[in-house]
Symmetry: D3
Subunit: 340 residues, 6 copies
Amino acid sequence: MKKDFDLLSLGEILLRLSPPDNERIVRGETFQKQVGGAELNVVSGAALLGLRTGIISKLPDNSLGIYAKNRVRFCGVSDDYLVYDKEEDARLGIYFYENGAYPRKPSVVYDRRHASFCKINETEVPDSMYANTACFHTSGITLALSENTREVAIDMIKKFKAQGALISFDVNFRGNLWTGEEAKECIERILPYVDIFFCSEDTARLTFLKEGNVKEIMKSFTEEYPISIVASTQRIVHSPKVHTFGSVIYSAKEDKYFEEEPYRDIEVVDRIGSGDAYISGVLYGLLGCGFDCQKALEYGNATSSVKNTIPGDLPSCDLKEIDRIIRNHKNTGIQLEMDR
Amino acid sequence: MKKDFDLLSLGEILLRLSPPDNERIVRGETFQKQVGGAELNVVSGAALLGLRTGIISKLPDNSLGIYAKNRVRFCGVSDDYLVYDKEEDARLGIYFYENGAYPRKPSVVYDRRHASFCKINETEVPDSMYANTACFHTSGITLALSENTREVAIDMIKKFKAQGALISFDVNFRGNLWTGEEAKECIERILPYVDIFFCSEDTARLTFLKEGNVKEIMKSFTEEYPISIVASTQRIVHSPKVHTFGSVIYSAKEDKYFEEEPYRDIEVVDRIGSGDAYISGVLYGLLGCGFDCQKALEYGNATSSVKNTIPGDLPSCDLKEIDRIIRNHKNTGIQLEMDR
Amino acid sequence: MKKDFDLLSLGEILLRLSPPDNERIVRGETFQKQVGGAELNVVSGAALLGLRTGIISKLPDNSLGIYAKNRVRFCGVSDDYLVYDKEEDARLGIYFYENGAYPRKPSVVYDRRHASFCKINETEVPDSMYANTACFHTSGITLALSENTREVAIDMIKKFKAQGALISFDVNFRGNLWTGEEAKECIERILPYVDIFFCSEDTARLTFLKEGNVKEIMKSFTEEYPISIVASTQRIVHSPKVHTFGSVIYSAKEDKYFEEEPYRDIEVVDRIGSGDAYISGVLYGLLGCGFDCQKALEYGNATSSVKNTIPGDLPSCDLKEIDRIIRNHKNTGIQLEMDR
Amino acid sequence: MKKDFDLLSLGEILLRLSPPDNERIVRGETFQKQVGGAELNVVSGAALLGLRTGIISKLPDNSLGIYAKNRVRFCGVSDDYLVYDKEEDARLGIYFYENGAYPRKPSVVYDRRHASFCKINETEVPDSMYANTACFHTSGITLALSENTREVAIDMIKKFKAQGALISFDVNFRGNLWTGEEAKECIERILPYVDIFFCSEDTARLTFLKEGNVKEIMKSFTEEYPISIVASTQRIVHSPKVHTFGSVIYSAKEDKYFEEEPYRDIEVVDRIGSGDAYISGVLYGLLGCGFDCQKALEYGNATSSVKNTIPGDLPSCDLKEIDRIIRNHKNTGIQLEMDR
Amino acid sequence: MKKDFDLLSLGEILLRLSPPDNERIVRGETFQKQVGGAELNVVSGAALLGLRTGIISKLPDNSLGIYAKNRVRFCGVSDDYLVYDKEEDARLGIYFYENGAYPRKPSVVYDRRHASFCKINETEVPDSMYANTACFHTSGITLALSENTREVAIDMIKKFKAQGALISFDVNFRGNLWTGEEAKECIERILPYVDIFFCSEDTARLTFLKEGNVKEIMKSFTEEYPISIVASTQRIVHSPKVHTFGSVIYSAKEDKYFEEEPYRDIEVVDRIGSGDAYISGVLYGLLGCGFDCQKALEYGNATSSVKNTIPGDLPSCDLKEIDRIIRNHKNTGIQLEMDR
Amino acid sequence: MKKDFDLLSLGEILLRLSPPDNERIVRGETFQKQVGGAELNVVSGAALLGLRTGIISKLPDNSLGIYAKNRVRFCGVSDDYLVYDKEEDARLGIYFYENGAYPRKPSVVYDRRHASFCKINETEVPDSMYANTACFHTSGITLALSENTREVAIDMIKKFKAQGALISFDVNFRGNLWTGEEAKECIERILPYVDIFFCSEDTARLTFLKEGNVKEIMKSFTEEYPISIVASTQRIVHSPKVHTFGSVIYSAKEDKYFEEEPYRDIEVVDRIGSGDAYISGVLYGLLGCGFDCQKALEYGNATSSVKNTIPGDLPSCDLKEIDRIIRNHKNTGIQLEMDR
């Protein structure tokens, strides 16, 4: 039976402010104004590919909250589960992002403490959503932001799971939010519920203290927990403006690894959110294509690679465009230089 | 004996973000990026007119703090008494400002809680400043922001006073920071130390429960407290884009009121900070022109009126320009259309 | 029984391109990029006020169509009834708009011929919408654009009416699309179905050849046709940058005229869409407030007046903001200068 | 017999740099980049109305000179008589312009000394131009810039006159270039050659020491010199953003004054060049409409008034647009709000 | 005997709209506004190098047509043969261009149907032009746009040829305008008139079904038709931001191939129009340098390569700059890093 | 005993105007507005790293001079020794800069003649500065600008030297200001006073006619003159957007060369001022780190390399950021992709 949402996610929506081009935070007279947030990035990418998605979040009841809501809708993501903070100290978390150019690294200043999202309460969203949703996704950021968001997230995972939803989880480790030990301990509480698990090789080693090669590590998670799919991205940062991107997916049921040629020498315009875009693509491949791991891999890699060329956190490519990019990636013959 | 600073002020420095032109916070893709803050506005206006000024404040030790420091210096204000917050929760207070156009009022969204300034500590600035300064200015905003800033401000008032500095104080009542009763009670604690007192007629009535006409009210403050000068602005808001501005100054020593024709039908570009610019002009007239109240009035009115035509919180007119505006204001003959 | 949509509308969505500020179409290097269209403007304004609305339209299946769809969603309008033109000659209608400044009038260049909307077909949208909708709105522009859109509109009016929806119609006469006689003949075909009728005094005289004062004219429509509500705007254009706006509403059932003080000397930023915003407000007053004509009048006048201060065709004020503007408009006492 | 050019002019072309909107020269991060110059403004306005015009000037042989040439052509003005300075010290004169808003006046900073134009030599342009041209125009600015340009201008006036061209001259007195006495003495050398004379009432009084009312003054010039037409503009500067503009033309042959209602409360966007635009319109009325002084008046007033609404020095309205503005100005009945 | 024009071309002028930088058509709030069109690009590039050129085209008689005319003149191209469409359905063709960044390709959306150019009629331009022109150029796009433009183009080719003009033709095959077979059949009708023929290797193979290596193919055209010069570009697209560009020219009379080292790793800013710029350079080399094929090659390669670094369709380099680029390209010694 | 300034410099401050991104001087509608100048660049970079610095210069007493002063202060450089030119011909020197993209080189147009700086007089600055300063720096540009600046510079060098300041000198040869012979002759007059000498290998060969490898050349200067430190940069320009940068420092006292791996494939955003930034870093390493030549090398290379990624002449990195870049440069292990 078809559910109302293919994918719901719980996560903070942030105001992103960034100087134009190569300008700096310490100077200049304008900021580009955008919204982002790991989970929003995932559901908006998935919505573009065709999934019906929504975001569970809490926004301040002021102009900035309305702005964030408008952007959510612009992306085709449902705002049904956005709730509003009418208290006087309501605020939208902010982050400031500055582009890099070798030898200057991209840099981020966070101003996300005390955000309204940290006060979200399960009772603010209707219980009907648990049964209405095919897959629930969240990330380690939501777990790390505050004790409250952690408990809300874990509760939601359990309730969604209980109603038959798949659970997708991205470790997305951020050293400025919690320590590796805290992350490990907390995430191990939820791994028993997780079906689709996103974890980079580095994080697996440093946080989960895994050893062996990347494939052994990926498989080991499925041996310890009832995880069906483990996906691991592989990014090479040649410089802030040039990356190479690929990934490996392991399917426990099939006991099989899926790989393809990475996208080499991506012309990076804005790297933020490309990891989240990967998850969009993978989830589309799984949820929208009958759990075809090869497709998940291809959609994940293409959606992530092309996200690097899009300003802002949020992806902007629909299925037609991603399919074209995948075809070009596989094509070894003559290619048209332009889409027209 | 000449002191190092003509004017020091204690106050919060805020990041100001505003959509360009008539665009709205709930939409659009850029913010203009500026700094402001009532006390900074005052000292930067006074610095432009020729006083040697500085700002006592606390900034986060990150790119935004550096940006604020750079802007302070750009204005010719000393950054000697800026201190930096290296804690993880350091943040620069922010406010979002949207222009109005009748019948749409200008609007402000504040996000200034938990700012580093609220953690400022007197021990962070050198005691030498008390003796080095001819006049200390602060406002009701600093008193209202937090219990800590209130106590720091009151202590500094006492210490500056003890070292012979004049004390200038602007009520600047903000209903979103405290109630009228709180304001009245607190400000009455400091009025015994105040030499130069800025209070609008409305605030005098609503907050201090004064009665009578504006002149009676102004005089009454000097009867209750050892205040030398009371200044009161008179603004008529015809629409968000058209104001009329004038003021009255009362000198207790001379027992005399100073007035002049208001500036009528000012073509308002950005009204924020025009009240603070008034104080700059008055303080310049007093501190820089041998306590000439007529000059204080004229500098106050001109500096404030022209600030309305300048984008951002901060004034940008030097003495030469203000003198020219005053001459034009008094001139009833033929005027050149342009300065060239 | 509650229906899924409070308001659906049929109309063309146009790409609007306009030089920034006072720049001209014949020069310059950028265009502001927006979407608009009389019916979209109406439903987006109504959505902001709280009605559940949607737009029935046809867009090209290319990047410009996706752009238009994204903007529709940004406004909170449902895109459920947007259909896509996959033919090779699919195109989005365009108009170019240049601001005025006395003695230069605002000017418009249309490039809307052959647009995909003109090819819209009733079979492309599901029949279920007719029963799901409380009110259907369209305008004379849709009737005038092409023979096909005229027939589709008339058919939809009949089908919505048959399913119990109210019919709202705005004459919106455009001399560059058809003649007054054509308009009169066509609109008289649909007036028997119309419940809420928007017609300016000038159009009533010039197109419908009405005589008498505006109230007599308004009433006469309800005598000839089973119309419940007639609304007529009254705009005085002092200059391209200064307008005065008011209106009259006549309720046939109550046999009563509703009027209030106009909004005088509006500081016009962008006049386009202010007539449509009026309709948003009136429909909100009727559909959302139990057919309270006084509220309809107040919401109509406020929503239209403030639209003049917003760049682009589309309104951007929610109910809270409009309620504040109405309060200020009625308030004769002291007013705060700013919303903060 | 038809000549190749209706109007040639000799004058400096300047790079104009101005901060956007209400921003200031002392701050900000961008300049708008335009070209201007009194004589170029005149010929480009006249070209837009339909005259075949050209500009005689000297530009540096570098990218800025090419930029200026490109802009000249953009306006439809011939660049046949532009010559290039290949010397190392070649430079394009510059001026910086800042908009005003009451009580802040517009202001100009000149950086035009040592410009290549000051080195122009008659031998650089072909002698054929003297016979090919119906009217030659220049202004007091060219006379004042340098001794060389003065002598070149006077020589050209004589040569054009000798070949049967009409001579048009605008006093355009600039106190920062020369004194009133210098101007009077120099201009009196050329008045014997002038056919069409532009002089404001103030300049006539202050520079030429004329007395009496404006009409008497205008007539007196034609009594002293063989001048056919005297035109005098009348501008009231209500504020930097609101002007009223009208003029009087006196025809010596007809001994008749031409006047009409001024354009009141012009919404000024950029006042620079509006005096030059007046000359464009008058010269079009004379040279293009069989010396019809009524038309000259109407074209002059309309072209000048509307120039105030156009950013930059250069006008941008063609004949169709000016004719529409004149019709609207004379129309006392209902007016359309928009051109569409 | 010298003719008035070195080069005339027949072709459509398009409004080009493109999001800034890496922004997308489906998002964002501005478009860059430019003009372009294959034939205009060719003549404007040639004008910059020193040829006297003009464009034969038809524009709508509205603000957009005026804008296009102004840009044509800005480039130094004569607008003598621009004609205007005063009908109600007059329109300027438009195309929307979005930059690429690997793995996102550049993309184009065309909206050029029903453009005024398609209605151009030979009788609108004076017959005198045929004898006044040294070379006439057009491209396969003009042939493909409509039956009318095809017949006008073929007629003009014949008339120019009859009056002794050289005929230059660029195949410029566009699969979205016609099929390869249609192109082949049509172009073979005109090849008997062509003197200078531009055809890429791929097009020669796919459209003209040629076999053999590129040199054999080039020569074969001159064997079948009385073509003097065949030029073929060789572009390697490493990524949307990195290209390598070179070409081969074959002179039938000399039976000789001209080649040089390609420009490697061009830093592509805007690739559009670089093929047309190549033609500009080659035609300058032929028409302006006594048919020197080596110079044609060098000017073609340099003009095209550098066009890739210029935003917009239109080139902007004059002869001095191209000569400098050619010298640098040939120079194997120390090079200055900057031109100053 | 600690002196008031670690570093003072004498040099011209220029207004820099540059088209945005890849736009050209010959086209476009805006210029980016910045200030620069070799010596200002040096002291502002050094101020960012922590030295107390000031600039000795002369500015026009107009809005542009104030703008320049404001920018100087923004950088943290003292404006104590700025003097103002109140004469009518006062002007700020200007240069126009256009970015390059292969095969288009960056290009510069200078308009710096007759600048107020050329009129600077030693008596305008207080003699107290000579004793108050640890190091004085100037460059060959100041020597070359005018006879007056040359004599002032040489006099100042002698006076600073006499008071015990170190003398730092950068040859910075500019062929458009003087010939190699003039430079050689003049610089040899000051080399007897120089302690820290910056000279590139090419300049050493071409101007000073040195022979041998770079190390031999560097050492030879110290053998001929009492120079302590010679620093020589080594830049490889792969293309306008890709450079490699390294340097060698020779310490005469230690008779030792300092080198490290160059920064390879720098992603160049704006190359101007990167040579000056090198000097900032070296002087910080020497003056701020106890004459540690290894640190001087590392600070010089890092500060210069990262300057290439910053728009404008002026650096913007503080010590914390440069230290991080040096650590990353030396780090051969895993690197974080972003600073957060």
